[in-house]
Each structure stands twice: as C-alpha cells, then as structure tokens.
C-alpha cells in the first residue's frame, strides 16, 4: 500500500509539506504531479484511477486552491469523503483528523470513514519534505473544463498575497482619504496596503485590498493592522503573518490577543508618527 500524494509542481512548498505529512501513515509515498494545462476534473479522475494502479490507501494533497479542487474531484469520482485543510492525522481504521474551520479560527476533530483516505494538508503545519521523488501522471483531455489562457491581474504595486510587509487599515481609518497615512507608511516600508471587509463594504478600497477569510490570505514577515478590531473573519486572512503589530485605541480589542506588538492609540496620530520616525532614522 502506498500513500499517493498530489503535488501542484515539483517545487511547490505546500505540496512538499503534504509529502512530509504523509509520512505519518507509515507507508511509502508515491508523489505525483500532472503536466499540461490545468483541467481539474480530468486531473481528479487521473488521481482516482491511480489509486488502484498504485495500490494507494490514501490520497493527500496541498491545502491550496488547486489541491483542494483536484482532490475534491478525485473524492467525487471515488465517492469517498475528503477532509480539507487538515492539521493533524491519527492513522487508523478509520482515520481521525483535525482540520480547519472558519479559515483557521476553529478546528474540527473528525473521523474519516472508508478507503482510500483522502485529505489535503493545511499550509505550514509541517516542514516541507526535502527530497521528493515525483513521477508524472497522465491525465486525459477534458475539452470542457480546461484552462484556455491566463490573463494577468491588473493593478501595480506590491501584490498583497506575496508581500513581506503589509499595512492594513480598518473601520478606524474613517474614510477613503484617511488611507493616505496608511499608504504613506506602506510606501516607506515597501509594503502592500490591505484593508478589512468593512472598508471594502464602505467603498473606501477595492476588494482586491481586502485581507480576510473571503479576501486575500497574506503571509508577510510583519503585518501592521491599524484600526482593525480583529474579527475572526479578518484574522483568518492574517494567520500566515509571522509577526503582527496592532494599532488600536481600544486596549480591549480582540486583535491584541493575537498580536505580537501593540500600540494603544489612534492610527491617525500613531501612523504618521511612525512614518516621521522612519524618515528621521533614514535621514540621519
């Protein structure tokens, strides 16, 4: 029996984390990737077919958009349950997992019945496997559900999802113009500008700036959250941040329970002060 692991690509880190995660099953890992234009249904069927071929007791994949999609297709083809975004696994008959709910603000402990065991691994719960031997899997053509072309996203500036520093503003900013101080600091730090959902609902920033469970999930080295109270939906998007600095006038704001650093104060005073201090430091 093998553990069949789907990789988005040889180098994809989250996929290789899934490989490392699979080692818990105590079975040889059969890591596969699929070439050609992305065709989720066909790829899922290819994985499902590979189960018998490779005598797989389980199918694992990265808990990414593609990983979840392909494994869901495989699970549908096999009519088996699929546990998405797992953070831990207790192998057995049946296996038990812990998986993410609410974008990571809650965990679910579940039994996964039947075989093969199909699950995706939440990003960054284990270190990526160093050496992975990957074989190519052939997927049939799928005229209907296949990527035709890729179009570039518009909008310049630093991409929010990739930025190593993100500065966000929330309700506390008060208006579209109020974001000027946020943008100022972001520019000084070479950071991307983000915002909370209340801000996009108010029409102050576009949805592409929204950090949160239904917006962009960020993973910067530091996330500076200004005037954001810390609702779970927002924090679900910011979990990946290595460090969090929260600036909020309310000392009881829930964001402070997840923050590494705190400044209690009004962002309209604090943020410009930080910008000035940075300029001073650089100037000297």
């Amino acid at each position: 029996m093998t553990a069949l692991v789907f990789l988005e690509s040889r180098d994809d880190e989250v996929s290789r984390q899934a490989v490392a995660f699979a080692s818990q099953l105590g079975e040889p890992v059969s890591a596969v990737s699929i070439g050609g234009a992305y065709a989720p249904r066909a790829w899922g069927q290819a994985l499902a077919a590979a189960v018998q071929e490779r005598e797989a007791s389980s199918i694992l994949g990265p808990g990414s958009e593609r990983g979840n999609e392909v494994l869901a297709h495989a699970a549908a083809a096999l009519d088996r349950p699929m546990a998405a975004n797992c953070v831990s696994l207790t192998p057995g008959q049946p296996a038990r997992v812990r998986r993410l709910r609410w974008g990571g603000s809650l965990l679910e402990e579940a039994v996964v019945h039947g075989a093969p065991l199909i699950l995706t691994v939440a990003p960054h719960v284990v270190e990526a496997a160093a050496e992975v031997e990957v074989t190519e899997l052939e997927a049939g053509a799928d005229a209907d559900v296949q990527v035709r072309e890729r179009v570039r996203a518009d909008g310049g500036g630093v991409s929010l999802a990739d930025a190593s520093v993100v500065v966000s503003g929330g309700r506390g900013v008060g208006s579209a113009e109020g974001f000027a101080v946020i943008e100022e600091l972001a520019e000084l730090l070479g950071a991307a500008v983000g915002c909370s959902r209340a801000v996009t609902m108010a029409g102050w920033r576009p949805h592409t700036d929204q950090v949160g469970q239904t917006g962009t999930k960020i993973a910067p080295d530091i996330y500076i959250a200004c005037g954001i109270s810390g609702a779970t939906q927002h924090m679900a998007g910011a979990k990946g941040a290595k460090k969090l600095l929260a600036i909020n006038p309310d000392a009881e704001a829930s964001i402070f329970t997840s923050a590494d650093y705190a400044v209690i104060g009004d962002l309209h005073e604090v943020v410009p002060a930080i910008s000035n201090e940075i300029r001073k430091t650089r100037g000297s």
């Binding site: 869901a72 699929m82 650093y261």
Partner: protein
C-alpha cells in the same frame, strides 16, 4: 436562463468563537446570522444574469427552519423562489449535503442552466459540495471564479490564481463556484423585501444519511501562548515601533 444559487446560514462570530458545552457546535446565543460573502456575490450574480438575459432564479439552502430568513434575504434582491431542505440541529457532511441538493435539482421540472455556489462555506470550509454536485449531475465545474459572462454559447469564467486569472469556457449547463469580489452585492429595497415575504418556498425534509466525514467535536485552536508586547501609547510609541521594525529587518 434558469439559475440555482445555493447558500448556507452561518453565524456572525465577532471577535472570538465560543463553543457549546458539548463542544459540538458554536454557541450562537446573541449572534446574528448571514450567508457567506462568496454566496452573497453568487446571489447577486444570479440576479444580474437574469436581468441581462432573462429567465428565472432559485435560491436553495440545506439548513434549519431559521434558514428561511436567509432565503428571504436573497429573494429580497430579486431571486424569484426558494427551495428549503429543512434539517434539524445535526450537521450534514459534504457528501450528504451534495446528495440532498442533487435530489432536489433532479426533482425540478425545469432543468438549471447554471448552478452557482460560494467557493467554500464560511464555517466548515470543505471546498467540495459544488464539485460533488457537478459530478453527480455530470456537469462541468469551475471554482474560485471572479468573473462570469455568457460567451460563444457557453460561460466564460475567470478563476483567480496567484498572479492572475485562468480563463475557462464551459458549456452550459454548468456548476460554478464564485468568490467575493465577483461583484458588489446590492442592498435590498423595501419593496423587494415585502415581495420576498410572499415568494414561494418549496420546503421538504430530507433524511440525513450516516456521515462519512463525521465531526466528533470542535476545538478552539491553542493560542500561540505569546504575550503581546505593548510598545507604548499614542504617537510616543513611534520610536519603539521603528526599533522593532529594524530588529525584524524590515527597515
């Protein structure tokens, strides 16, 4: 066009999540309810497509009796009718949910051209119900869509990927899951709400099959145990902040 939108009633959790005593659900005392932002965009898109191309739309939910509130909210923006698959307090796993939806779809007289879902539900986040529905119905499925348009006899869908959008053109009927940002959902008018109160809701009570992905309990993630370091109050904290940024190598 005949469009189906599926939504799910979820609580608005606020700053922290509190569990019930048996740890099998979120304590919803004093919480408001809504549908996920992805689903709001799906509903809005359904209404827009019908406004543009004619036809009718239906909103469906698998949920407790209180979920009728969400159905009426969606009908208030212009969806014509609703299907309510009424459940009790028990959770339905993705396969069971998809199965019930498929049964309801097959029971309809008029087939649907487009079945819209949110990319993932706000609470359970299993990322698979729509895909299973598509499989059972033998329909193509595109997920994570940020733009839809009718084109060349099919649906041109843009799926968000890192750095850009992947374009699919699928024939209808099709299943599409969408993400917030697809459009700006409209605010319901009061005449719309009043009309929604009288729109038809077809209710039924499907039987829940044994769960294959069986939730045992819910667990709050352990805090990182980190102690927040207060750098100061107001603008006087600026030097301390800059010191931290330097330490982290940001400056």
């Amino acid at each position: 066009m005949n469009i189906l939108v599926s939504v799910k009633r979820v609580p608005l959790t606020g700053g922290k999540i509190v569990l019930t005593d048996d740890e099998r659900a979120i304590s919803t005392r004093h919480l408001g309810f809504t549908i996920s932002p992805h689903e709001e965009c799906a509903a809005e898109e359904a209404v827009r497509l019908i406004e543009q191309h004619g036809g009718s739309s239906t909103v469906l939910t698998l949920g407790p009796p209180e979920a009728e509130e969400q159905l009426r909210d969606v009908m208030a923006i212009g969806v014509d009718r609703a299907i309510h698959l009424v459940t009790d307090d028990q959770e339905w796993d993705p396969q069971a949910t998809a199965g019930a939806i498929v049964d309801a779809v097959r029971a309809q007289e008029e087939p649907y051209d487009l079945l819209l879902f949110g990319n993932e539900s706000a609470d359970a986040g299993n990322y698979q119900v729509a895909i299973r529905v598509a499989h059972a119905l033998g329909l193509p499925c595109v997920t994570g869509v940020k733009a839809i348009a009718l084109a060349d006899g099919g649906l041109r869908c843009e799926q968000e990927v890192p750095g850009g959008r992947d374009v699919y053109v699928v024939p209808m009927p099709a299943v599409v899951t969408v993400k917030e940002g697809l459009n700006l959902p409209r605010y319901p008018s009061v005449p719309g709400r009043l009309r929604a109160k009288r729109k038809p809701v077809e209710a039924s009570n499907p039987t829940r099959p044994e769960p294959q992905l069986e939730m045992l309990r819910l667990v709050l993630p352990v805090g990182s145990g980190k102690q927040v370091q207060v750098l100061g109050q107001g603008p006087e904290a600026a030097p301390a902040v800059v010191a931290v940024l330097e330490e982290l190598g940001v400056i």
